[in-house]
Symmetry: C2
Subunit: 412 residues, 2 copies
């Protein structure tokens, strides 16, 4: 009977010690963002499938888990059809990111929100991907967005708050690479890439850290000819010298440097970011101990307007929570409150009443208190609870009629 009792493929249970760390890390990020004036919102896990597959989600749209229609609607979608159209069987989908729900939320609730809306949204998202090491089918994202501010102040606020949030979880070594879609467009023009070839060229350039300069030159040459390859060689060589921050990013860099000193932002003219919806600045967060990026974002001025028939500027960044939490040192979670195991010598009503009274006393002295009946082997119980983070113990018996009567000992 106990065979195959597991969570669904690619999804995880969290043991208490893991869960505690995740909560502390997520909470620390949220509190830091809130201190910067961001406000937390929540949207449902499900959205209308039509909205999830309207083109805003890029490649992720194909990864949406689809929820079947119910009752009569399901009947109607099936009966009388010789061939089943699976698209007609589902009406809802699990969100695959927090950005599509945010834009929908803004369109729904705009009238009740401040003119410049600074949002935090954290929560699980779901993707029907092939599970592999470090890639899950349910995972947590942690987004902030500023909607309604077209000025650089929005970027500065997003970047300063995020660097602060990363510091708050002891990831002070994280840096953010920054580029601008306009610079990328100019670059592609300069390389002589025709308009229709630009998406393909961006994909090639994006692989620079994997296939290196030679690989990029080779692939560009194969796709766009020797002339482009030659220009690209020169451009790639120029990257090796120190790059001047371009005009488009100067103000942002100056402001962030005024707060954090140099080095926390890095201009990277090869940064592409996959999503098609970015219209201005783009960001990617990296950390020396992580092989891949631990977050990213950018400006997406066109996206929200689509549902409002109105132009609404927006910029956001997402911390990849699963990658970040793995990098967070245990020291962040190593200062829990004192947690004490109160062992009842026997199970009489008198002892139970005394245990509850002493539990109350201990609360007032700042302890968390877990009640346990005395087992045959007390040591085994205490060892097992020490693994769960309990640090102290005391026993309660017929004579435990005051706080002073307790003999509180650390668990050895």
């Amino acid at each position: 009977m106990a065979k195959d009792v597991h969570p669904p493929r690619g999804m995880r249970d969290f043991l208490p010690v893991e869960k505690l760390k995740r909560d502390i890390v997520l909470n620390t990020i949220r509190v830091t963002y809130m201190a910067h004036g961001f406000q937390e919102i929540e949207t449902p896990a499900l959205e209308d499938l039509e909205r999830l597959t309207s083109g805003q989600g890029g490649d992720n749209e194909k990864l949406a888990f689809r929820v079947m229609k119910r009752g009569e609607e399901l009947e109607r979608a099936i009966t009388g059809h010789t061939e089943v159209n699976t698209d007609a069987l589902a009406d809802l989908g699990l969100r695959y990111d927090l950005t599509v729900p945010l834009t929908r939320y803004y369109a729904t609730n705009r009238a009740k929100l401040p003119k410049v809306f600074k949002a935090i949204q954290t929560g699980p998202v779901w993707r029907a991907e092939r599970p592999q090491k470090g890639r899950y089918r349910q995972f947590v994202q942690c987004d902030i967005d500023i909607i309604g501010d077209s000025s650089n102040l929005a970027e500065i606020d997003i970047l300063v708050s995020s660097l602060e949030a990363l510091e708050s979880i002891h990831l002070s070594d994280a840096i953010i690479r920054v580029n601008h879609r306009l610079l990328l467009a100019n670059l592609l023009d300069g390389l002589g890439i025709p308009e229709e070839g630009k998406p393909a060229a961006m994909i090639i350039i994006d692989k620079l850290d994997k296939i290196f300069a030679e690989g990029v030159v080779k692939e560009l040459g194969e796709k766009f000819g020797a002339k482009v390859a030659e220009t690209a060689t020169g451009w790639l060589a120029s990257l090796k010298s120190d790059l001047e921050t371009p005009q488009e990013l100067k103000e942002i860099f100056a402001a962030v440097e005024s707060r954090f000193g140099k080095g926390r932002l890095r201009f990277d003219p090869t940064l592409v970011r996959g999503m098609g919806y970015y219209t201005g600045t783009i960001f990617e967060i990296e950390h020396p101990e992580s092989g891949s990026s631990i977050g990213g974002g950018g400006r997406y001025d066109g996206m929200i307007g689509r549902w409002l028939g109105d132009d609404v500027p927006a910029v956001g960044i997402s911390i990849g929570f699963e990658r970040a939490v793995d990098l967070v040192p245990e020291t962040l979670v190593s200062k829990p409150p004192m947690r004490l195991v109160l062992v009842l010598d026997d199970a009489t009503s008198e002892t139970i009443a005394l245990a509850l009274a002493r539990q109350k006393d201990l609360f007032e002295h700042g302890y968390g208190v877990r009640l346990e009946q005395r087992p045959k082997k007390l040591n085994l119980l205490l060892e097992s609870l020490a693994e769960q983070g309990f640090t102290h113990f005391a026993t309660v018996g017929v004579n435990s009629n005051s706080f002073e009567s307790l003999d509180i000992k650390p668990i050895a």
Copy 2:
């Protein structure tokens, strides 16, 4: 374009002020339970559909949102079938409660958990019910369970911790009604209900608060004859006098009263609880300001064993978060940290750098600080942000080169 931009039917967006209250209330409950030695766990939102429909979920099983298979598996379920079996199209489902996932979690992770496992689980659940006032298709549950303790101490721990949790969110007027399935079985025997009629009789008795004594007598008479109706009349009359706590519940009541005084538990021989899996004590939480119960639970010793081929005692209680949060007075959330709007007089690099420096100073003085550009009408901005909980403001210009230069004012 802005037409019909809403969350899915029966599901909700939360505005920042609502979200903040929900977070504070949920967090307060969690912290209180943790102080009592309960440990938080997390399970995925999805479980295998087979598990969700194996009979443990009662009537809720029919309400599971079903997730369609994907790729080849979906193809295989469709092609070559003249009639579509919709059951074969789905393999996963959204959890409709936290109890079925908990029992699955325990079976999966038992070896890594303390022998007596005291779990907290909070999170959204989903039910494809017809939405109506106060009933949602996604809502939050807040459960604690003790697995592996067959003694009354488990009940006492669950009830004391829950009364404490309810007090922590200022619901000190909540009481918990208590009954025992054994007493209920004895009662039905006493009324002369045949074995096969007991479930129907329990459903009738459960309606006492809606159809009153006359209604119960009438329905029992229609179903089981005049003799049963007559006996029931006598029994119902006896309920009007003060009831003695039966032997089965004496120890539990004595312990809880030793901690909270009399009156927070109430023996209710008519309490039934719908779920079939309860085997001992049953609880229901009520509050004078709520027409319906705000939570409930009981002992369910048989359920976990089903997946382990092993007998595992268990008892739990669930606070209905959505009902509880509506009862929580605003005073619980009325002490936020000071939150300040820092208005930039202009958008020059110098002013932005000064604003960031002053933001940092203000953090050190305990403020949350939101940056805003000076709009044409400062009053309108401040009014709108006051609604969002911001309490103070200050302006930053070219001369704001120290914390002392800031003129911090409350928002009138």
